[in-house]
């Protein structure tokens, strides 16, 4: 286990900034193993960018790079994202 690993709660502000809705209660379905789960429970690794990984299989669900006034979001690892609207 990586002690620097965090969870989806740690990027809640950034995700809400990007998606404009509360995202920790959104449910993502992993494109790797197919397990659904709340974004709050995904594993988060922070470096030059942010990587969200499936807590069950480790698949990279999303990669986010934030600049001063833009964000780049790669969601190829998420099959379905269910959001309260």
């Amino acid at each position: 286990m990586d002690e620097l690993m965090l969870d989806g709660n740690a990027v809640a502000g950034l995700l809400q900034e990007v998606f404009a809705v509360e995202m920790t209660t959104a449910v993502g379905t992993c494109g790797g193993c197919g397990a659904p789960g709340p974004i709050a429970a995904v594993h988060v690794y922070r470096g030059a960018g942010i990587v969200l990984r499936c807590p069950h299989c480790g698949n990279a669900l999303a990669k986010i790079v934030k600049g001063d006034s833009r964000a780049w979001i790669d969601l190829t690892g998420i099959r379905v994202l269910e959001v309260t609207v």
């Binding site: 990586d2 690993m5 965090l6 502000g13 920790t24």
Partner: protein, 248 residues
Amino acid sequence: MAGTAVRGRLTWELAELVEVVVETPHVKTIVLDVPSWPGHRAGQHVDVRLTAADGYQAERSYSIASAPDGTRVALTVQRLEDGEVSPYLTDELRPGEKIELRGPIGGYFVWEPSDGGPLMLVAGGSGVVPLMAMIRTRAAARDDTETRLLYSSRSEDDVIYRDELERLSGNGLGVVHTLTDSQPPGWTGYARRVDPEMLAEVAPRPAQRPRFYACGPTPFVEAVAEALVRLGHDPPAIKTERFGPTGR
């Protein structure tokens, strides 16, 4: 939430420092006044942003320690020696000065009295902060949800909110401490890291379907969550929030 102009949209607001409370040698609570505050739920956090004279910005997340109380928001901050933000918040900021803040943030790691219980809170170090907001919210609402807090600290001096937890105990709230590194003379409580045996002794039985909230450093939370699943508790009833070395 009432008062929020556009639901979901986060904006940076100015918050004024009202009061500083020394909790332990390394931890202080900063009480802020946020005129636009829309209210919050226990367990939510805020992002704090500091801007240096040269424009460099640093952002960190801090859990809200207080129960909803108008425009007042209390954050309990552990001072990290090499931190960019926490030493400023705990030692530099003076009453009347302002910082930028946005929130409340998060909707998963939250508890309200209407969610019910039994409630089992498991805290490692400053991971107690969002759980204290739950305990304070429960007390403010005169709610009697059966609640237990298992709180792991290094030593007695490192226990945050020690007196208030003692005062609030009873009325369905039980607080159990474990002191991992040093214990005062005559200590009869737990003196080791939280482990499956301790959780089995302190937590309600799986048949009572307790709601778990575990917060602390990543290794602590991983160990607690794994142990609870092994003890037969329902994984979706175990909510976790992991603290990193850089702020939360």
